[in-house]
């Protein structure tokens, strides 16, 4: 079930989804824009962090710019009976940034576990894939690695005002 947010939370989300103001007192700037106090802005952000509506407040690096140029979407056909235990272990690996179970789309797509891995060169990424393969040994029928060759669009979440 979605968490309850009120109209002020929603306005705060709309005002910050593109980023925090780059001014010395960012919460005051938001407060002025939204007609509430800076204390209220901070309380609401803290509450949304606490409830998980906000994962964290911080910088999102461009992987390519940081030198992680070999970013592969690794996909695995994992035994349904074992995927939840194994998925948690794959997600805990330090080079995995996202790890999900998703539906297969047979016959085109037999894979149900998706893990994004990042390496600064091809050898590093290949070693990461090999490590996941070892971890899934015996529970995985097939796998593939889809490298991104071009970013076509990257804007992130936008909800309407």
């Amino acid at each position: 079930m979605p968490d309850a947010i009120d109209d002020l939370d929603r306005r705060l989300i709309v005002a910050t989804q593109a980023g925090l103001p780059l001014v010395p007192r960012p919460y005051h700037a938001l407060a002025e824009q939204l007609g509430m106090s800076a204390g209220e802005v901070r309380r609401r952000l803290a509450a949304m962090l606490e409830s998980g509506i906000i994962r964290r407040i911080g910088a999102v690096p461009n992987h390519y710019a940081l030198g992680y140029r070999h970013n592969g979407m690794t996909v695995w056909d994992v035994d349904d009976a074992r995927i939840d235990a194994l998925g948690a272990q794959v997600g805990a690996l330090p080079f995995v940034t996202h790890c999900y179970r998703r539906p297969r789309r047979l016959p085109d797509w037999p894979y149900n576990l998706f893990a994004m891995v990042h390496g600064k060169d091809r050898a590093a990424t290949d070693a990461h894939v090999a490590e996941i393969a070892r971890l899934l040994d015996g529970a995985c029928r097939a796998h593939d690695v889809l490298y991104s060759s071009r970013i076509l669009k990257k804007t992130g979440l936008r909800i309407g005002g």
């Binding site: 979605p2 980023g19 952000l45 911080g58 999102v60 710019a65 790890c99 998703r102 539906p103 889809l146």
Partner: protein, 161 residues
């Protein structure tokens, strides 16, 4: 002889050791206090103004894709779905333009596979996903393969700079 910055590989912006330290510091929890940029700068020996100037520049140079709260859209009733298309090579640019034109498309990547275009749909309601898929199928004449997440094992955008 080209100046050093022009010899950077295409698409990868330069950043120095101070930028690196700042990026790593900003991947943690950003403080909810009156002067958060000052507090972030202090342990790094940077003034509030230096933090703001560098952060602005990292965003402009796209070393960072954004800075601010990362919202988990499902928690407020919205939906995120990964989807893919099998795009014939000759139509790739035309289809990319049609897909990118939809505001519901948050990210879009070219990947090397028969399913060669992978994008994330982000909408304010779960029903919005089906509507966006219909629009893409109508605009491109291609079948959309949707991969809604069934379980999230791990999500963390942090990467060491």
């Amino acid at each position: 002889m080209k100046p050093p910055e022009a010899r950077q590989e295409a698409g990868v912006a330069a950043f120095d050791a101070t930028d690196r330290a700042l990026i790593n510091a900003l991947q943690g929890g950003f403080p909810l206090c009156d002067a958060p940029y000052r507090d972030v700068g202090e342990p790094l020996g940077l003034s509030e103004e230096e933090v703001l100037v560098r952060l602005q520049s990292l965003l402009e140079r796209k070393v960072l894709t954004r800075f601010g709260p990362m919202y988990q859209v499902e928690r407020i009733g919205g939906a995120f779905v990964l989807a893919a298309l099998k795009v014939p090579a000759a139509d790739y640019e035309k289809v990319a333009a049609a897909v990118n034109a939809l505001p519901e498309v948050a990210h879009n990547y070219r990947r090397e596979h028969a399913l060669n275009m992978w994008f994330v749909l982000a909408t304010e309601t779960p029903e919005g996903i089906a509507a966006a898929i219909d629009k893409i199928e109508a605009a491109t004449g291609l079948e959309v393969f949707a991969f809604p997440k069934e379980r999230e094992y791990f999500v963390e955008m942090k990467l060491h700079a």
